[in-house]
């Protein structure tokens, strides 16, 4: 496991910062079996997926209470998944954990629904992970975008906009490990943690645990398929060269 540090960001230079972040993710992804991105708010999801998608088609599972399909300023978090959907190299999109105020009107939700599979939190709570995993084709490459507001504010208090009725630890763990067992997870981004709103580091600890659970499940899958953990099996030498 390697920690590459933080993508360099300059106050006010948002375009430059976005480009740096995209390059950094592409570089990390070319050298890693699984890239772990620590946001930042969910706007960082766009640069994460843009970087990953340089190396091949990537599908996106976003966990969060809102579809983020609004028409805000470019790069703003409220429309970030709409922008992700428009990227070349992004395949299927699944957005799960939706509940409460959408942050956009019915029109925005309709557009999201025409491009992505939308799954309300209540459906997951009632039916388990199967409705989400059903939308995942075996063997495909996936990036997990985890907006920590997907979780209930009782266990993830450090968020800008608490959304009640959220997913619990086991539901998200089952989703992540179920995805890793079924498909090839090439990255996860953890977005939306606001540490100053945290309580006893609960949310950061939760993010560590959930990410570890995903990495463990991905490792088990590699051991099962190949008898050994793979360095970066998803990426060919050509793709690696392209990333440089």
């Amino acid at each position: 496991m390697t920690d590459f540090g933080d993508s360099h960001a300059v106050p006010g230079e948002y375009a430059l910062n976005a480009a740096n972040a995209t390059e950094a993710v592409a570089g990390v992804a070319a050298r890693s079996r699984v890239s772990v991105i620590l946001g930042g708010d969910v706007a960082a999801c766009l640069y994460s997926v843009r970087g990953l998608s340089r190396l091949g088609q990537v599908n996106v599972l976003h966990l969060g209470p809102r579809p983020l399909w609004g028409r805000g300023a470019d790069g703003g978090p409220s429309g970030v998944l709409r922008e992700v959907a428009a990227l070349d190299g992004v395949g299927k999109m699944v957005i799960a954990g939706l509940r409460g105020p959408a942050g956009c009107g019915a029109g925005g939700v309709g557009l999201a629904r025409s491009r992505a599979s939308l799954l309300p939190a209540r459906q997951l709570i009632a039916e388990g992970t199967e409705p989400v995993l059903r939308a995942i084709a075996a063997g495909t490459d996936w990036f997990v975008s985890l907006d920590v507001a997907a979780l209930d504010p009782a266990i993830a208090p450090a968020v800008e906009e608490p959304s009640f009725g959220g997913l619990d630890y086991w539901q998200v763990t089952d989703l992540l490990t179920g995805l890793a067992a079924r498909a090839r997870v090439i990255g996860i981004g953890v977005f939306g943690i606001s540490p100053e709103r945290d309580h006893n580091f609960l949310t950061s600890r939760l993010a560590i645990r959930l990410t570890s659970n995903l990495l463990g499940a991905a490792l088990r899958k590699d051991l099962e398929n190949h008898g050994e953990p793979l360095a970066h099996p998803a990426r060919s030498a050509r793709q690696l060269a392209g990333a440089r």
Partner: protein, 323 residues
């Protein structure tokens, strides 16, 4: 008549940034928010009761939804929360209260709620501790018979505590004595409260339907709703300690094993489907022991969910106000 009400101060948010009423006599609205930072204390310490800060805290939390609350899509309703209707909400401010003048404060609260009812607005009361429910329910004398829905960890059937009859342990006892309260369901009961066996026996003898928190956890909300007495009109009193303290940490009396957000939301929606909601109060929030205002924000969500459920049930926003 001059009602002793403090309008929401300039520079402070009203609930959902709603119009501020200058006078209760002139209100023309479907819903009126009224702060009741009220108690009749049992002890001198409680005369500065923590929930007196709750109306301002709930208003501040609700301002997050403005101006999108009525327009944006809501996944739990499958449409915008008011279903395309213009639900007219005003914020009537807080009932003015004077230290020590508990009988006068109570009479002022009853008069203010009565004024809202006469104007045809459904009162949505921001407490205060649970003593606030007592003067509110006294205002319904002219409103016809109603069933009280009491969502709470505790029974609240004490006749008195320390010689005080109108305190936070007595709201359902006092409600049971009102001739216009013809039914009662108490939902979410658990653990220890002020009640002894006598109070439980009294509630039983009166005909109060008691649904334990464990009943809701094991049998679900639908089974709880099936036990609610059928009535044309319901008054709902929601004590925030009915919720689990994991979700609602900022309450006066945290009680573990509580109901969750979906259970409370479904209860509110279910009751709105049974009959007309003629009033609602949310009480016992303690902003000082809250975590980043979570409990006040939760209260705002629950109020919005109730108003949305009332709209979808056709209670208001239909005739003449289609937006």
């Amino acid at each position: 008549m001059q009602f002793p009400v403090n309008p929401v101060p300039v520079g402070k948010p009203s609930f959902l940034s709603a119009t501020r009423a200058a006078s209760l006599d002139e209100i023309d609205a479907d819903v009126a928010i009224l702060g009741l930072p009220y108690t009749t204390p049992y002890t001198i310490e409680w005369s500065r009761q923590p929930s007196s800060a709750a109306p301002a805290a709930v208003r501040a939390a609700s301002s997050r939804f403005f101006p999108h609350a009525a327009k944006n899509y809501n996944f739990d309703f499958g449409t915008d929360i008011f279903d395309g209707h213009d639900v007219r909400i005003v914020d009537a401010g807080d009932v003015l209260e004077r230290p020590g003048a508990y009988a006068e404060n109570s009479a002022a609260a009853t008069a203010a709620v009565r004024a809202l009812l006469q104007r045809g607005a459904v009162p949505v009361i921001l407490g205060g501790d649970h003593a606030a429910t007592i003067p509110v329910m006294r205002a319904y004398e002219e409103a016809g018979s109603l069933c009280a829905i009491h969502i709470d960890a505790h029974l609240d059937w004490r006749d008195e505590v320390n010689g005080v009859h109108d305190g936070l342990s007595s709201p359902m006892r006092r409600a049971s004595e009102l001739p216009w309260v013809t039914g009662m369901a108490q939902i979410g009961l658990r653990g220890i409260g002020s009640a002894r066996k006598k109070e439980v026996d009294d509630a039983e003898a009166w005909g109060s339907v008691r649904v334990l928190a464990t009943d809701v956890h094991r049998q679900g909300v639908e089974a709880a709703l099936a036990r609610v007495p059928r009535a044309e009109q319901y008054y709902i009193s929601l004590d925030t300690d009915s919720l689990d303290p994991a979700m609602a940490p900022g309450v006066n009396s945290p009680s573990f094993g509580g109901l969750d957000y979906w259970q409370i939301s479904d209860l509110l929606r279910g009751i709105a489907g049974l009959g007309k909601i003629v009033g609602f109060d949310i009480v016992e929030i303690d902003p000082a022991s809250d975590l980043h205002g979570r409990t006040s924000l939760l209260a705002s969500h629950l109020i919005l969910n109730l108003l949305g459920a009332m709209t979808q049930a056709g209670q208001f926003g239909r005739a003449g106000h289609v937006g």
